[in-house]
């Protein structure tokens, strides 16, 4: 069966199902699961614009409202927050990084569930543990680098980069990344399991919602830590 034929077959698969063809095409033709997911979700309809708008609008509005909740917490601390320049610089950095971790975790974990690698306690799965180690090691390393760079740039703008504030900024960055990632991975692990038990594809729910939860958690924890350490 040619690749095009397989993809056409995939277009006819029900939205809530994860067809074994996805795994097969991904392995044989090296096409990402995300591409195949969109083949299944969107390519079978002719009225492209309205289908995309109808299917995306709810989750996008939900994501906007979740982001605004986090933003409101920042707005209420604005006067204090803008004084700590390194934390201000770190805000988009950490949002982006933690958002990426949540996407990587969601997509890989969904695949493990579909491949039957998660049986009973998810944390007993070797592959999941390895993924968590990867994300935690890289998270701590990049957070440390982000903390250092934010201090350098803030120093250029006149922020007092004494030992005390350097230590506080690095500590806030590390605690934020470790805490947000841990809470996020726990939420996503159990949410993924629950969704799969309801015979739905975890990809459909985990990937769109994970970045919003990551943003919200990051903003709330970053604001709380900045408040705790600096005021």
């Amino acid at each position: 069966m040619s690749l095009n034929h397989k993809l056409k077959k995939l277009m006819k698969v029900k939205k809530s199902e994860l067809h074994p063809l996805i795994k097969h095409v991904h392995k044989k033709h090296n096409i990402s699961k995300r591409t195949l997911f969109y083949v299944k979700e969107y390519c079978s309809n002719k009225n492209v614009t309205s289908v995309i708008i109808r299917e995306s609008i709810k989750v996008l509005i939900l994501a906007s409202i979740i982001s605004a909740i986090g933003g409101f917490r920042l707005e209420s601390l604005k006067d204090k927050f803008i004084l700590i320049l390194p934390i201000l610089i770190l805000f988009p950095v950490l949002n982006g990084m933690i958002g990426n971790y949540s996407i990587i975790f969601s997509s890989r974990y969904s695949t493990m569930i579909h491949e039957g690698k998660i049986a009973g306690n998810p944390f007993k799965c070797k592959e999941l543990r390895k993924l968590l180690y990867h994300l935690i090691i890289i998270g701590v390393f990049t957070a440390f680098l982000a903390g250092i760079f934010s201090l350098v740039f803030a120093g250029l703008k006149g922020f007092d980069t004494s030992i005390d504030s350097t230590y506080k900024v690095i500590l806030i960055t590390l605690i934020d990344v470790i805490l947000v990632s841990t809470v996020l991975f726990l939420i996503l692990t159990y949410a993924g399991e629950y969704i799969y038990k309801k015979r739905e594809d975890p990809n459909n729910f985990l990937i769109p919602i994970s970045t919003s939860i990551a943003d919200l958690l990051n903003i709330l924890i970053l604001a709380a830590l900045a408040n705790l350490f600096f005021f």
Binding site: L3, N4, M11, N30, I31, S32, R34, T35, L36, Y38, V39, Y42, C43, N47, V48, T49, S50, I52, I53, S56, L60, I61, A63, S64, I65, S67, A68, G70, G71, F72, L74, E75, F81, I82, L85, L88, I89, F91, P92, V93, N95, G96, M97, G99, N100, Y101, I104, K130, Y133, H134, I138, F141, T142, A146, F149, F153, K157, T211, D215, I219
Partner: protein, 181 residues
């Protein structure tokens, strides 16, 4: 140890390095323009949503185009086809709707909770959202086509690039709007 630091580890690390650099650029712009951007009422409510919108809308656009390219429903060049046009229009319309939602939410929350009446935030959200959407969409479409032509699956590269670049584009768009309004 050797098992832990494998190809997967390197892939995640390189993606995160890109995110780190782009995030730092966005953060530095924010910090260096504090007086112009962040002192505007409700701006902190608006920014997280605007940053996230780019990744959500353009990331999905790129994924749908990749699917179309593999299915041969889309050719990797700008053509007046239903699927390409439909995707671009949908992304543009979504961008306008979500920017307006973000603007209204920021305005209402700021007024209800902090008592500050600043309707201009809706205009800022809309114009900044549209500008960043146009830039982000051009980048998404052309880079997706380019990567496909070079034999790659665009999704492997576009995901982290779009979210990272989206942060920088969004902050620059806000700065641009704030300067001109």
């Amino acid at each position: 140890m050797k098992l832990l630091f494998d190809k997967e580890f390197n892939e995640i690390l390189s993606g995160q390095t890109i995110a780190l650099i782009a995030g730092l650029i966005a953060g530095v712009f924010l910090a260096f323009q504090t007086d112009k951007i962040l002192l505007i009422p409700a701006m902190f409510i608006l920014i997280p949503g605007l940053l996230e919108m780019r990744g959500n809308i353009e990331g999905s656009l790129s994924s749908r185009l990749s699917s179309g390219l593999f299915l041969k429903l889309v050719k990797p060049k700008l053509e007046n086809t239903e699927i390409l046009k439909g995707n671009i229009i949908a992304s543009f319309v979504l961008s306008i709707i979500i920017s307006l939602v973000l603007g209204y939410v920021a305005f209402i929350v700021e007024y209800a909770a902090l008592g500050i009446f600043y309707p201009k935030i809706i205009v800022i959200a809309l114009i900044a959202g549209v500008i960043s959407n146009i830039i982000g969409m051009i980048f998404s479409v052309f880079l997706t086509f380019y990567l496909f032509k070079k034999g790659h699956d665009p999704n492997n590269i576009m995901g982290p690039s779009i979210t990272s670049l989206g942060d920088v584009i969004s902050i620059l768009s806000i700065m641009l709007v704030v300067v001109f309004i």
